[in-house]
Symmetry: D3
Subunit: 300 residues, 6 copies
């Protein structure tokens, strides 16, 4: 269960309104790497965590903080939109300064939300649930968290250069600091997972037994240029300590032709009537066999 | 420019058709972490790369390989669908075995694609461009690549356990091996970026000067439980070597109240007419001021 | 079955073209509360209506009118786009007036639709089927209809203030009037449903018997501030006449810890091997039990 | 800023796992009227609220509660998925009971989230930001909130009938009660807004002055059947007390033909070269006029 | 403006309910090539048509018919869902026949629409506005219409084979006939556009003057295999009567390296500081130049 | 399997950067008819092709070429964005020229991709998998391919008129030429499919036997105006040589009323308790019958 205090985690007060910047700042609210994403990503990871204790507590601490980050940004956007030109008509557009601001605004911040933020990014695309990942595997997910913080931090730094409003810059400096903490923290947690012997599923011994060892060391050179072979990565042990990466120049394919099996007549796929290749070995019950028989046969 | 050979990178031939598994395998084609994602992610990263040489070559090598992985999986799905029950009527559903298979299939693999794969995931959600990231910043993007390979590898491992078809398992073992190489490779490239002195934008000195140092070390304990404070992460230097993470138990907010500025009458937002708080300092031209004046004032 | 007359329900003729306004007006065509939404919402409600007679007739009357509203707006947008700058090049952008208009236009109205409307909103997001609701329950759906008309009317009023073209304003005044009728009409139909004794499923006796009466009166005060307790809503009978709302200040949670059950090893979720909490009481067949046995057990 | 306690607002413990039901329950997490929707809808309404005091406090109280409802449902889904058949192969499908369960499951709850919930609905469609509304106008938004609670309550009631697990039913009874409170509360708040004289923007005097009074009373009979004319709604004052609804049988259109203006040659729209109708009155600068001149002319 | 009659264009009455088939039939309602698509595609084409007369009339005739096709299918789906198992619990699933049907149903047809159709396809993906095309160019759009009718007809034929209900089959036979008419009609209209001399924009002389004639005849052989060179298409005049297609075996690229320009430091893209290639000829104002100067320079 | 050469298929070098045009050109990358669409459409058609030989080879040749077209456009966009105003602040916006460019840019090309292309269209909508079609039926798909090339060519021609940069125009002239080849080629392949006797599924004899011959010739005149009856299409044989199209003026519906069956009480759909019409003939097991019995009955 959650509780809310009216105070923002950090101040979010611009010096002056700036409707164009309000549109850009939407990227940090509803973008693929915005605060709605890290909020929901960490919440679902926490709720789906299969171990009580420090990892779950850490995830829930940060998840709860991130809801407050959406709040800070939403508040900042509403304040940046104060007095934004909501009544500008074609006549006013004759003034190029007015026109420029009007042209670049997100019209939905006026028409739809009445001067407030929308749950969308800087191009107006609505946030969606596919932006988040919560796989139940902490090592895989903590790598995703590092990646999310890195992209979020990069976008924040870019946006920092797009304003000179001291109030906005102060908040973004706080956000940059929080992203730094979280990025460091997820990296530290990856190390700790390994030290605690819990890393087994992303680079697990069990999976190594299954994977095809012949092909787990080679970088296939399928694009012109041989610079990739000169990277030090191709001449020393791989980071997992279990493989030796090496570069294959211009390798040949290992499989047969990419062909599809003969079509089912009831699906009206184009065919010349010749027996097709590309069938499963145990496929193709004789034509005329009843569907039920075919399914049962395929289950034998 | 690209060229294509008819042969698959690796064989993709199931022992027998399996329409239920064909639906599940869609996750590796059109899922958020499927092969369409890594194909497009690496292509856009390569095309957007601002340095000629080993990094760009490496990205384009792997991007080109991944197109071939979509091809392998698309071929496998078509073969798994061979003879799938496309004509089963309500009458046939009386046979529970038939019904079970029919019930679990993805109907679009019959109705829409005529017995082939669809560019969608295992729940039928179409692939979309927001799944990929190509920021122009290699360090941030290589972390995203590690995360994508980790999730893809994890999903492949889960799918490996959901079949006992030797042909399918052989291909998945190859895929697992390739994911291992690529994961190792991106991790190695992250190290090499740092050794080459090119990591400056995700953890850059410049940004450290800007970020708010007061808040770049603290883990805010906003969820009950103190286990997070007991992680070793809170008691030793952070992975970037420049911070010392520590745990803040039950911290207080630093900002003022989360309030929105007074509404523009033309937007018909609800208001009690009292002067609102939460304005930008330089906001609020006097009511009655013309829009043009307001905009110009906000630009002063 | 439907029939079409070439005449618009009401005139849709702007005084002059205005490409910027054409972009904004898209909100009323393909926005979440635009005319495509009410068209499809009312059509699906009518087709799904389980009672012949006045309610179904009313829904189909309005649904049919709304198709004509999409037609009016689509016509207006095409006319507002007449002569819009489709050939403006970088050279022309040097003229700031031209540039302002070009910058703010929706480029797809030129590139994709050749000077006509697109089935999207003012931010370019395409209309989608999730915008509508047709639950089969008229009381629930009529409340959704009131809400849709209210938002549509509000957006129309905002857009009314963003133009001074008399032709556009005349059409919007007609639209505002129609929204007023429809809003009143759905409110009246809600009353009539109750008078006719057909309201049972949104506030039904049957459901009251099921719902947990202990918790059907309390407003949980989970956010700072006690103003919510001072609303008159917390001191008099609830609108349904069956409950007495009251305010709970700072209530405690009633449930156990939010924990997830122990992981299935085949899914590679991170675990420390300790028996987890959070299991269903009847869960967890012994490890080693066959899958079939586990499923059958769970069905016992 | 937010805080989190580990305890659930109410218990969420099923008697036994039920993977089919776990798929259905996703509707209440990530559906258009699920708990993610009301969480985000109320948060954005609260952050965008332009009046301090009881209304804002109420919104934030409920918003904060709803985050905890997502938590309860996410926990319930994880527990319902305990021991779900993650390794079932084609061989096991021969057992029809196993096959039935496998066929109906959401495969992403295994492959993607490792036995946990996904931020999607019962058909696997990911949640998106367009599900919410926060217009800044409390009266319009409270009507939307009533509608959302009504649909959510209806779906919960339907789901209540699809299980006989006492643990699941206990939680749903709590949820039904909370929906009842919230529905009553938003209805009460609508009344209070009117009593407080704050309803002016949905049914405002200002807008009535603008809207076309000739057309603000008539129900247009555009679908066969005259039952709609017999509703009491067509024979008494409208709910807003300012209109008298009446039924127009088979009305004629009021506008001119629905025609589009002549095409711009640079857009290659099909035309027979005849001067088109449907132009704006002030449109159509002479052909040959420069683009800049045309734009400037349209702004005159 | 539109009118509605209560009678269906053709009867839509199944012999018996069939909940599994109701899910599949959604493809023809809300699929990419379903009736919602052709309805909206033809409506937007008609409203955007720049010529009065036979073409526009034809488009509006068919558009109006298609709304009635959505109505027929929506009615059929509601009837197929009659008595569908809405209360089946885990206990009932023990009966494999029940379980099979339950497993394969679209749960939203019960939970969301209360036994009616949803505006989505057979995989539950909601319909969206990007499915339609209305470019203003009749020749291009009529080709799109042929393609839409062809896919719709193919899917209808596939669905025809998936049922043996005589009522359903009767309706699908009517639908197949209508698709045949419409396909023929759009093909005939393409011919008539050419005879009327209105085809100029898809294969126009004007565009031929612009396009690069060196490359408008060659099929580039970029995939292994030379069968494509043996098609008769490579040995006779092209269908437009103006080109001679021929096959280029293993052609070489014509452009320079695919490289991106040097990064802007404010965007933190990775760079080694070496002057990049891939710049526009007139790019790259000297570093240190003010932004305003850079923009102005790029407009010179 | 695929291979990549560093050289572009054709040069993609603008004379000068142009950030506004870079936004528009996104339509050809990630639009519904952009190069990502034809790439994926042809790849999935090729992989799903059920005949070895000239058709499959042709599809794979073009598919492989199209990946290179995405590369050309992605490179062009990055170069057009060189030096784009990434640091422009509110202060700089006072210069109207700067403001105009800033207002019209796609902010994600800076914030998200760091000066490169995004996998989205000119309105910022991300590409998605529903844009493509690969049905397994070559005749239906080749018609879709003609339509896609026609729309792509039309959009390219429109974009050609929106720039006067010689480098951009040179590349677009090449693209127009390639679209011409491909359009001709798919039209030729349609003819060849018919000559080869492989056209059976879109206009098949088998399907003609099934379709309702009474209704396969008539154009229903459901929209006012009789011009459609005067088209030559209504007075001569249909293009398939098997039908005679004719115009039905103001036809009457053939079906019964559009009514839905009686509701299932467990779904809480509104009903007046009167026995409903619109049932399937074999529907409606007696109330009280167990669900299992009802399902079994419906399968009898």
């Amino acid at each position: 269960m959650f509780r809310h205090t009216k105070h923002l985690q950090f101040e979010a007060k611009p010096e002056k309104p700036d409707a164009l910047y309000a549109m850009k700042l939407q990227e940090l609210i509803g973008g693929a790497y915005g605060e709605m994403t890290v909020t929901m990503q960490y919440l679902f990871q926490g709720w789906n965590c299969r171990m009580e204790g420090k990892y779950k507590d850490l995830i829930m601490d940060v998840a709860t903080e991130e809801i407050g980050h959406v709040e800070m940004l939403a508040t900042m956007v509403a304040r940046l939109l104060e007095g934004a030109p909501s009544e500008v008509t074609a006549d006013a557009v004759k003034d190029p300064v007015v026109a420029a601001v009007v042209g670049g605004m997100n019209p939905q911040q006026a028409i739809v939300s009445g001067g407030g933020p929308v749950p969308a990014d800087s191009a107006g695309t609505p946030w969606n649930g596919k932006y988040i990942v919560a796989s139940g595997n902490l090592l895989a997910d903590f790598h995703a968290n590092v990646a999310a913080e890195a992209q979020g931090r990069l976008q924040t730094a870019r946006l920092y250069n797009m304003t000179d409003d001291p109030g906005v810059k102060a908040m973004l400096k706080f956000n940059l600091a929080r992203d730094t903490v979280h990025q460091n923290m997820w990296l530290a947690a990856i190390e700790e997972l390994k030290e605690d012997g819990l890393e087994d599923t992303v680079a697990p011994d069990a999976l190594f037994d299954e994977e095809d060892q012949t092909h787990s060391n080679t970088i296939w050179g399928l694009s012109d240029g041989t610079e990739a072979a000169r990277g030090r990565w191709a001449h020393r042990p791989a980071p997992d300590g279990r493989h030796e990466l090496r570069y294959l120049d211009n390798p040949e394919p290992l499989g047969g032709p990419a062909s599809a099996p003969p079509p089912d007549p009831a699906l009206y796929a184009t065919s010349d009537g010749r027996p097709g290749e590309g069938s499963a070995k145990g496929a193709a019950a004789a034509p005329g066999t009843s569907m039920t028989d075919k399914i049962k046969k395929s289950l034998e």
